[in-house]
């Protein structure tokens, strides 16, 4: 009797994975193209010392972008097992600081300054730390690229922020000046992934799959990403439950 729904569930999961893989392959093309055109540029410049120094930095950054995406995708592939992974009390501030630290060089290349802002004294949250970190890292990297590509400015700012939300939740997310990210566009993107080249029309090419991977990781852990605001900046955040265990410690 249970066979039919299970088969249906498996088919749905397979379709979701396939759709994400299509989006990922589109987005992985970009760092590879960056490396390809960098090599062509170097050839054109006869491999001058100055050009090699500059381009090797760009190529390393592109390789990092691709590897980040591949790593986060690997976590999504195992996201059905996230329910079995140990959730532990995690300091959200420490996670955000670590993500900011990991991405600081990357952000610098996009003239972006990362700020961590935790509002009030927040109790630890209950999460699988590697997955939460991967989701926030993937989301941040995508929004760094997106913001720099959406508008031409001298420098950019991004907040990795957390604040208390309703129902004993802590909202943790990435906040920028990017236009066009809302719950509606996110819902549309979830249904468009795999079918459209640009599931999030507001974001430039190459940034959507990172957001969608982060969304899937957050969904597997607790709940999907949603539009939120923090310090007059808009962004995407996940609601993570506060750890009840530590509230009494």
């Amino acid at each position: 009797m249970n066979r039919k729904p299970n088969r249906h569930l498996a088919a749905t999961q397979l379709a979701e994975q396939k759709a994400l893989l299509i989006a990922l392959s589109d987005d992985l093309t970009l760092p590879l193209l960056q490396i390809k055109t960098s090599l062509e540029f170097l050839e054109n410049q006869k491999y001058s010392k100055e050009a090699v120094a500059q381009q090797s930095r760009v190529m390393a950054m592109s390789a990092d972008t691709g590897l980040q995406l591949a790593e986060a995708y690997r976590l999504v592939l195992h996201s059905d097992k996230l329910h079995d992974l140990p959730l532990e009390p995690v300091s959200i501030g420490a996670v955000l600081e670590e993500v900011a630290h990991e991405l600081s060089k990357y952000a610098h290349e996009y003239a972006t300054e990362l700020h961590v802002d935790v509002q009030g004294k927040l109790t630890p949250v209950l999460a699988h730390q590697p997955s939460l970190m991967a989701a926030l890292q993937c989301l941040s990297a995508s929004l760094i690229r997106a913001q720099a590509a959406q508008t031409q400015q001298k420098d950019y700012h991004i907040i990795l922020g957390a604040h208390r939300s309703g129902n004993n939740l802590v909202a943790a997310g990435v906040f920028t000046n990017i236009h066009g990210l809302s719950d509606r566009t996110l819902r549309a993107a979830r249904s468009l992934v795999g079918h459209a080249r640009q599931p999030l029309p507001a974001l430039p090419a190459g940034a959507a799959s990172g957001v969608l991977i982060a969304d899937m990781l957050c969904s597997a852990m607790w709940q999907p990403l949603r539009a939120a605001a923090h310090k007059n900046m808009s962004g995407l955040a996940v609601g993570v439950p506060a750890s009840k265990q530590l509230r009494f410690v």
Binding site: T29, L30, S38, E40, N44, A149, H179
Partner: protein, 116 residues
């Protein structure tokens, strides 16, 4: 990638004005006339086809050469390809299989007096 394309073209004597926002591109062309436009089809906030429709709606730019240099393979363009006739696209290049030097040759061929 923009810097690499700009670098190769500038090294070959061309002046490049790079715009991220399609609307800014329209304004920029209005302020500083150009000889040719290279456009991606996937742009933030707006599709490249929409951008080209707007560009072609202005009488001054109806004959301005346009080259598509995109991450979308021609086989996937589908319905949009039908509108390319109206948009008077001079060349279509898929980024993954077009070396920058070929893009440069394509631009120079469009700009050559024979093409005019």
């Amino acid at each position: 990638m923009a810097a690499n394309i700009t670098g190769v073209f500038e090294a070959n004597g061309h002046i490049i004005d790079w715009q991220v926002d399609p609307q800014e591109a329209i304004i920029s062309v209005d302020v500083q006339p150009v000889d040719l436009i290279i456009s991606e089809l996937i742009l933030a906030g707006r599709s490249g086809v929409e951008f080209l429709y707007e560009l072609r709606s202005y009488p001054d730019w109806q004959k301005l050469p346009v080259i598509i240099y995109t991450n979308v393979p021609a086989r996937e363009v589908g319905v949009s390809a039908q509108s390319f006739g109206e948009l008077k696209i001079d060349a279509y290049h898929y980024k993954c299989s077009t070396p920058l030097i070929d893009l440069l040759k394509s631009v120079e061929s469009c700009l050559s007096p024979a093409a005019a």
